[in-house]
C-alpha cells in the first residue's frame, strides 16, 4: 500500500472520528461565541439585532463601578476557594490513599457524592441548614458568635459562606484527581526512601509533593477557571446582596441581558470576563510550570 493511500485512509478515519465533535463544537460553541463577539460591538437587545456602535460598550464598562465591584468579588472568591479547596482535596486524598479495598471505595464515594448533586439541590440543602429561624447549623454559629446569623444576608459572611458551600460541593472531583496522581507514583520510590531512613514528612516533601505537582497545577488551574465563572451559587443563595457584597461579573451579565434587555452590553461583559479568565489562567499555568521545574 502506498504511503499516500495510507495517509488518505488515516485522514478519513480521523475525520470520521472527530467529525461529530467538530460539528457539535462549531454549531453549539464556536458560532455562538463569534456571535457574542460581534454582538458586543452592537447595541442589540436580548433578542434580535442591533446597530454597530464600535467600542462604546467596552468604554461604558470601564466606567461602570458595579463592574469593578463584581470583578473584585470574583477575585475575592477565587482567593477564598482555589487554594483552600486544593489543600483540602490533597489532605483528603492522602488520607483516603491510606485506606484499602472496599473501605477506600466507600469513603471515596462519600466524598464524591456532593459533586454529583445539581447546584440547585446543593444550595437548597445549605440554605435550609443555614436558615436564620430554623437552620440546623444556627446553634453551631451561635456558640461561636453568640447569636444566630443570617449568613447570606450579612455582608461579612456572605462570600465566605458561598465559598464553603462551593468547596463542599466541588471538592470530590479534586480528591479524585489527586488519588489518580498518587496512584501514579511508583511504590518503589517510597520503599527506597524508607530504606534510606526518610521520615514520613521527608517522604511527602521529597517524593509525593514533587511527583504530584503536575496534578496540583492542573487542579489549581481548573479551579481558578471554574471559580471565576461563579454564578449559580450566588444567584440562588444571595442574589448578589447585601449591597453588592456578593455581586459577581456573571451576575451582572445575567441582569444586563435578561432583566435590562441589554444584549450588547451583556456580551461585552462576557467578553471581558472571557479575556480575564484566559489571561489569568495562562499566567497561572506558566507560573506553576516554572514552580514545578525548580
Amino acid at each position: 500500500m502506498s504511503l499516500k493511500l495510507r495517509r488518505r485512509r488515516e485522514m478519513r478515519a480521523a475525520l470520521l472520528l472527530t467529525g461529530p465533535f467538530v460539528i457539535v463544537f462549531i454549531v453549539f460553541f464556536l458560532y455562538p461565541t463569534l456571535r457574542v463577539v460581534t454582538m458586543s460591538f452592537t447595541n442589540a437587545a436580548l433578542i434580535g439585532g442591533g446597530d454597530w456602535i464600535g467600542f462604546d460598550n467596552y468604554a461604558k464598562l470601564l466606567k461602570d463601578k458595579l463592574f469593578y465591584t463584581s470583578l473584585w468579588n470574583n477575585f475575592y472568591f477565587v482567593l477564598l476557594t482555589v487554594i483552600p479547596t486544593t489543600v483540602i482535596a490533597l489532605l483528603i486524598a492522602l488520607a483516603v490513599n491510606k485506606l484499602r479495598g472496599r473501605v477506600q471505595a466507600l469513603v471515596l464515594t462519600l466524598f464524591f457524592l456532593p459533586y454529583v448533586l445539581p447546584v440547585s439541590v446543593v444550595t437548597m440543602i445549605w440554605a435550609w441548614m443555614l436558615d436564620f429561624q430554623f437552620g440546623i447549623l444556627q446553634p453551631l454559629i451561635e456558640t461561636v458568635t453568640g447569636r444566630p446569623i443570617a449568613v447570606f444576608k450579612d455582608p461579612n459572611w456572605v462570600m465566605p459562606m458561598i465559598a464553603v458551600v462551593t468547596v463542599w460541593w466541588t471538592n470530590g472531583f479534586n480528591v479524585l484527581l489527586f488519588i489518580a496522581g498518587l496512584r501514579n507514583i511508583p511504590p518503589d520510590l517510597y520503599e527506597a526512601a524508607a530504606l534510606d531512613g526518610a521520615t514520613a514528612w521527608q517522604r511527602f516533601a521529597r517524593v509525593t509533593w514533587p511527583l504530584l505537582w503536575p496534578v496540583t497545577a492542573l487542579v489549581l488551574t481548573l479551579q481558578l477557571i471554574l471559580q471565576l465563572k461563579l454564578f449559580d451559587q450566588v444567584y440562588l443563595l444571595s442574589k448578589g446582596g447585601p449591597f453588592n457584597q456578593s455581586y459577581v461579573v456573571l451576575m451582572q451579565m445575567y441582569r444586563e441581558a435578561f432583566q435590562l434587555n441589554n444584549g450588547g452590553y451583556a456580551s461585552a461583559i462576557a467578553m471581558v470576563l472571557f479575556i480575564t479568565i484566559v489571561i489569568v489562567s495562562v499566567l497561572q499555568f506558566q507560573l506553576l510550570r516554572i514552580g514545578g521545574r525548580k
Partner: protein, 425 residues
Amino acid sequence: MTGRFTKFAATVAMIAGLASPAWAKVQVEWWDFLAGGDGVRMKALIQQFNAEHPDIEIKGTTLEWGMPFYTKVRTAVAVGEGPDIMTYHLSRLPLALEEGVLSPITDADLATAGLSKEEFFPASIAAASDEAGQLMALPFDIHAIVLYYNKTALAGSKWLDTDGNLTGLESVEDMTELLTWAKEQGFSDPLSFQTAGGGGTWRTFYTLFTQQGGQLVTDGQVLEGDNLAKATRAIQILADWRAAGLIPEQAEYEASVALFSGKKSILFINGVWEVPTYKDQSTAGTLGFDWSANEVPQLLDQRSTWADSHGFAIPNDPNMSQETRDAVLTIIGWMEKHSLAWGEAGHIPAYKPTVDSAEYQGMEPNATYAVLAETAAFDPRTRIAGVASPVYDAVDNLIAPAVHGFLSPEDAALQMQEQLQSLLD
C-alpha cells in the same frame, strides 16, 4: 408541541373550509404565576371554564413568581414558543412595552370578549395602557397590602373599636406604642412582614414612603429633592422597629406568614392574597384566634397603600390564529364576569360590576378594606420599577440590609438613588 400542531391543523382546516364548531376544540396555553392561596381559586376558575366550554380547553401552567416567570415569558415569546394567554403585573407594563412582549388589545378584541373599558376602574385601565392610551392588557384585579390583626389578642385594648376594626393608629409613635405593648404581652415579633427583602419589604417601604407624598421617579430623576429624605425616613422607621425587636429579623415570606398564624406577631402586613389562607384556617378551626384585616392605617402625612394589578395579556405572536385569539378573548371575558371568585381570593376585582354586586359587598373583610383602592399607590411608571425590576433588586440589596442595621438609612437611600439613576441615564 401538540398545541402548535392543533393550531396548525385548525388553520389548515379553516383554509380548506372544513372547520366546524363541533370539531375544532381550541387548546389555549395559559401561563400564570399564582402559586399561593389565590392560585387554588384560579385553578378552580379554569376548571369551571373548561367544564362550561366544550369547544375551548385551557391548559394551565403555573410558573415561579417574579424574575423566573418574566424571564421565561420574554425569551419564550421572542422565539414564538410563548403561551396564548398569561397573567401579567401591570406595574411591569413599562418594561413589557420596552421588551415588546405584549399584543395590543383592540376595540374589536374587547367586543369579542364582551367587555368595555368603562366597566373597569379608571386607574387600572390607565395602568394597563401605553403612553398613547392603547390598551395592552386587561386588568383583572387591584391587589394591595393590608394590615392583618389578631382580634382576640387586641380585644379589650384601646386599639379596637366597637365594630372590631383597628383604631387609634394615627402616627408612627402610636404604632410603636401598640407594638411595644404587644411585645410585653409575649408577642416576640409584634409586627410581622417579609423583612428579609423581596416584595414584602418593598411594599411596606413604599407605603411609608408614599404616605409622606414621596415619589420615586420624577421627570427621569430618581428620588429627586426631598424624596431622598422621605425614602431615608421610611427606611429609618423600619430600622428603628427592627432595632427595638418590634419587627422580625430576616423573615422570609413563609416565615412572616407563620409568625402571624403562630401567634408570635399581633399584626401582619402582607398582600390581600393571604386572606383566603386565613379564611380557610378559620373555617377549619385551626387558626386558634379571631382575625381581620384593615387598610394599612395612615401613620404619616397622608393615606396611601402600595398596590399593583394583575392583568391578562396576550403575548406578541404574529403567527397566532384568529381562532385562538378569539378563544383567549372569550376566556378573558368569562374570567372578568366570574371575578367574584377572585374577590374571594382577597383581591379587589378590577371589573366594577363585580365590586358593585351585593355578593361582593357582603364579603368580609374584603368590603372593609376595599376603600384602600381610593388612595392606592401603584409602582412608578418606569422601566426600572415593577415586579422583578431593578427596584426590587435595590430592595434586597440596600433597603433590607439597612433595616437590619448593616447600612445606614441615608447610605441606603443614596446608593439606591445612584444605582437606579445610572439605569435610567
